[in-house]
Symmetry: C2
Subunit: 239 residues, 2 copies
């Protein structure tokens, strides 16, 4: 067991890609739309394009071009553009809203619930996602994610990797920054957390972008813990 297991009190998790398989979930929903509407959308391409619109959309908020906007609404902005680009014209407002909520219906990676359940015995476990609170709560209820607390960039009105997003969980939990570990599959997210004094747990998710895609290079970063999945993370932290 790492001695981190005694200094860390709370683990907060990146969600999209780290806890849940956004690509597989969106592909499943797009395939269902194809069947329901007689469409022929490339589900993988659609999922990748939707996700690719996410960072630029957050940047429009950071730059001040848009006011603070929750991710549900950014997802919808991007979706409306994608539907136009792919020539999908036959969806009414309720159908578009329902498709947009596909991001609430993503499935966890196979190890996630068992690992979180084990980690919860020893640590406070929570989210630290750019996803809004409502999205994260709906996702957790559907998937059975056993969070102690649902924390979102929405509560700081700053998306990750802005520093304010990482300082929010220790502040709200009454902990020192170094008593909180961010767990993420994304080295850049972890590096930004480390700059604020949080501990870092890297769990690579090589299938995040689909089979055969190269994961983000992590070699140039140092993390407090690297684990292959949440069960190994629990093992390493003595949970």
């Amino acid at each position: 067991m790492s001695n981190l297991g005694s200094s860390v009190k709370a683990l907060v998790f990146d969600v999209f890609g780290t806890v849940v398989d956004w690509r597989g979930g969106i592909m499943r929903e797009v395939a269902a739309l194809n069947r329901a509407k007689g469409l022929d959308l490339d589900a993988a391409r659609f999922a990748d394009d939707w996700r690719a619109g996410y960072q630029p959309a957050m940047q429009r908020v950071r730059s001040g071009e848009l006011p603070w906007t929750r991710i549900d609404d950014l997802h919808r902005l991007i979706l409306d553009g994608l539907l136009q680009k792919h020539g999908v014209g036959g969806l009414d407002e309720a159908e578009k809203a329902e498709l947009n909520r596909a991001w609430h219906r993503l499935d966890p990676w196979p190890d996630a619930i068992a690992g979180l359940t084990r980690l919860k015995r020893r640590f406070i476990i929570g989210t630290l996602s750019n996803g809004n609170v409502g999205l994260l709560v709906n996702m957790a209820k559907r998937a059975g994610l056993p969070w102690d607390v649902v924390l979102s960039a929405e509560l700081a009105h700053h998306y990750k990797p802005d520093p304010e997003a990482y300082r929010m969980p220790p502040d709200l939990l009454g902990l020192a920054n170094g008593e909180v570990m961010l767990v993420a599959a994304h080295p850049n997210d972890l590096a930004a957390a480390a700059m604020q004094g949080l501990k870092t747990g890297f769990v690579p998710r090589p299938l995040e972008h689909g089979p055969g895609r190269k994961p983000a290079p992590a070699a140039e970063h140092r993390f407090d813990i690297v684990a292959m999945d949440f069960n190994e993370l629990a093992e390493r932290l003595g949970a």
Copy 2:
């Protein structure tokens, strides 16, 4: 089953008095302090005095005399005054901080966990307390309260019964105000929630202020549901 069971999506609970027995918990901790320190404090009186300081302390924040202050810190302000008043001089800083965290270690009423567990199958269940997020998370972990989401006046920077505190849960959960029910043992809390369009569930807790004390009069208020405990609430809501 009430037809409220199909229109309400989330139940948010007042905590001190409604979910947990603050008076019994504080009395237990004061009794332990008496034993540890050879003191002779009147535990019931001490608990009642500590709680009685709470509304005036929040009013100092509302009036602008104090900046936004979490309940942990208000509890400590009140405690320091009480220790002085009761002539308790022998506690060091760590002991005072530990005593102040007695509010994190309160026990649920006997029906609370079973009722919440049942309600959680059908509804989003969360807190809506003036207690700060860290306090509520620590309390839930110790007591096994199965919240889906921990919401606190801290997130609105307005204590109940300010209107902003009641509008925050529907806003964060992406629900209409009328899709959220406040459950509380305190008619005034429920009346303020109803003014914002929330549904109301009254669960009287006649022992909140100790045996033989008269509960707050509820007759002049109307609530969407009145239930004797959380199990009956679940029954009435079809959960």
